[in-house]
């Protein structure tokens, strides 16, 4: 009798599992593949803005969309690595400003290719300092990089005497590094691809997940969590610097006030909307890229519609809160094993 009841139970749950409707199958896909949901959001937004204004998908506007996207997407890729480690870099927007300035100063005495490398190395050193302060001096990264944020912000103005400088231009290198149309987004796509491989197909990426998911367990298993964290701080900062160089060479001007909190917060928002949790242990590069695309589409689309920047901020705020709430909810569903 009891056995029969158990058997019946199993049968019932079996049939419920084997015949899901299309809707629940799509829902399951959205929950399982974090990138899929944000991808559909991007498509839906593009369709909406195109239907309300046919200029949205014109080649000129797609180019300006790409210019909105690439620098933030590169930065958010670096931030994803750090967020997975359970750390954050609030100073990455200043590294974005600092690299072109370091490049500019080096370019006064050195050849440009070397100057570019100097700029990137300078930001890697910034990341090294952030990492050492966080890992070895045990200052929480939120505080350590907040300090670096103010420090670099001041340094950027001091080094330029507060005046924008004319960026090097007209050479093959400057054309490749942002000067030519589409070069920025091409770099961005290449970096997203490489970062995706780094995160998902290499030991470094696996150890990054391990470091954020279970720091004590990872080090007991022999993972060098300190090295992973410091390395990701350096990577994040250098990517911020590279994005800054691309933008400076595209715009043709090196602005001491470029970057700062705005681009950093956009990049963090993009990572979060793309499914990276601030608590560490999970995250995707492609999700962060798509998150940036969604933010760019919204910003660009709303400005085409004549919606003010303030309204955009309200919508962005709602989007972040919604994404985070969904993240927490989906996370608890996953943990309970229902998805």
């Amino acid at each position: 009798m009891a056995k029969q009841a158990v058997g019946g139970d199993v049968g019932a749950s079996e049939s419920a599992r084997s015949s899901p409707g299309l809707g629940s199958r799509v829902a399951e896909l959205l929950l399982r593949q974090r990138e899929a949901s944000i991808f559909f959001v991007a498509i839906a937004l593009a369709v909406y803005f195109q239907s309300s204004n046919s200029a949205f998908l014109s080649s000129g506007n797609i180019r300006s969309l790409s210019e909105f996207t690439y620098a933030t997407a590169i930065i958010s890729g670096g931030l994803v690595m750090l967020l997975i480690c359970g750390e954050i870099d609030l100073s990455v927007g200043q590294a974005y400003g600092f690299a072109p300035i370091a490049m500019y100063l080096a370019d006064q005495t050195l050849v440009l290719p070397v100057a570019v490398i100097v700029g990137l190395l300078a930001t890697a050193v910034i990341g090294l300092i952030n990492g050492v302060a966080t890992v070895y001096l045990r200052v929480p990264s939120f505080i350590a990089t907040l300090g670096m944020f103010f420090f670099l912000g001041g340094v950027n103005v001091i080094l330029t005497d507060g005046f924008p400088k004319t960026a090097p231009s007209g050479s093959f290198l400057t054309e490749i590094l942002g000067g030519a149309d589409w070069s920025g987004i091409a770099w961005c796509l290449l970096i997203v691809l490489l970062m995706h491989i780094l995160l998902n197909r290499t030991r470094w990426g696996l150890h990054t997940f391990a470091t954020g998911g279970n720091p004590v367990g990872a080090s007991e298993a022999g993972v060098k969590t300190a090295k992973i964290k410091v390395g990701n701080f350096m990577l994040c900062s250098a990517l911020g610097g590279f994005a800054g160089v691309l933008d400076a060479l595209r715009i043709g001007s090196i602005d001491p006030l470029a970057g700062g909190p705005n681009i950093m917060f956009f990049a963090v928002s993009a990572a979060v909307i793309g499914g990276t949790a601030l608590a560490g242990g999970t995250g995707t590069i492609i999700g962060a890229f798509l998150g940036t695309v969604v933010l760019s589409i919204m910003q660009n689309g709303f400005s085409l519609q004549g919606v003010s920047a303030y309204t955009f901020n309200v919508i962005l705020g709602i989007a972040i809160l919604t994404a985070m709430t969904l993240n927490v909810y989906v996370g608890s569903l996953r943990r309970s094993g229902r998805v």
């Binding site: 491989i197 197909r201 290499t202 030991r203 696996l206 150890h207 997940f209 391990a210 998911g213 279970n214 004590v216 367990g217 990872a218 007991e220 298993a221 022999g222 993972v223 242990g281 999970t282 943990r335 094993g337």
Partner: protein, 264 residues
């Protein structure tokens, strides 16, 4: 059979996987270990029991190179060693499965299985997921453990399954001496039985020597060849399980409680 082996060991010099002599470990004014003498024969399962605060975890951490002893000498395979790091202990084949298991919940079974000894492709050092999956599947089949899928995130598995993965990881990373730190803590009877079966299987294969740290005496008697009782930072009792009993050990510990009550 077991009898024969013991007699064999008694006559010849028994091959020892591990020996610790007079291990002392102090933390400031606190003496955690006050002269531990312990030995582990090859292929043996040694049960180590002791109250909270008796020094069990300090002893484990000393054997695995996490702590350096203040006094005493360790021998691995008869050779004197002074362990400076966990990595060095591991290189000598000493592996520990800690209570927290050192598993990463977010990662798959096979990535956990190869954590920090990942297989990579050539020439580009990308993860060789296919090979890691194949081997993981083989390891898990060999150990006779039931894991639903090796693609599953470890966080979704039961406590016993997680423990089995951690044990498998240690065994297949060429452990010669395996320390299991309370593997049955907070585990149901069915799960616990699975782990005890696993230990029994490893014992039958005879490739690894095991120190099983346990709270529950009956588990010790189920799989261990010998039992050591750690009290006040030294081994106060060392007998083959065939000559010991749950009652005798319980009496020893109860006596200690009685003494503690009268002296306090």
């Amino acid at each position: 059979m077991a009898q024969a082996r013991q007699e064999d060991n008694a006559t010849d010099a028994p091959p020892e996987a591990l020996r610790a002599e007079g291990i002392v470990k102090r933390f400031g004014a606190l003496t955690a270990l006050s002269g531990v003498d312990l030995h582990l024969r090859k292929g043996e399962v040694l049960g180590l029991i002791g109250d909270n605060g008796a020094g069990k975890s300090t002893l484990i951490k000393t054997i695995t190179g996490f702590h350096r002893p203040d006094e005493g000498q360790m021998y691995v395979d008869g050779e004197p060693v002074s362990l400076r790091s966990v990595a060095q202990a591991r290189a000598l084949g000493i592996e520990t499965v800690f209570q927290d298991l050192a598993l990463i919940s977010e990662l798959s079974v096979y990535h956990n299985m190869f954590l920090n000894s990942e297989l990579t492709l050539k020439p580009f050092p990308l993860l060789d997921n296919r090979k890691m999956k194949e081997r993981t599947k083989q390891y898990i089949d060999d150990m006779g453990v039931n894991i639903p899928s090796i693609d599953t995130q470890v966080g979704r598995l039961s406590g016993g399954q997680r423990q089995a993965i951690a044990v498998a990881r240690s065994v297949y990373s060429n452990a010669k001496i395996l320390l299991l730190d309370e593997p049955l803590a907070a585990m149901g009877a069915k799960e616990g039985a699975m782990i005890l079966d696993l230990v029994q299987k490893l014992k039958n294969e005879g490739q690894v020597s095991i120190i099983l740290i346990a709270h529950n005496y009956s588990h010790v008697f189920e799989v261990c060849d010998r039992v050591n009782l750690l009290q006040h930072g030294r081994i106060s009792y060392d007998k083959p399980t065939s000559e010991s009993s749950v009652e005798e050990l319980t009496e020893l510990v109860v006596a200690e409680y009685r003494k503690a009550r009268t002296t306090s």
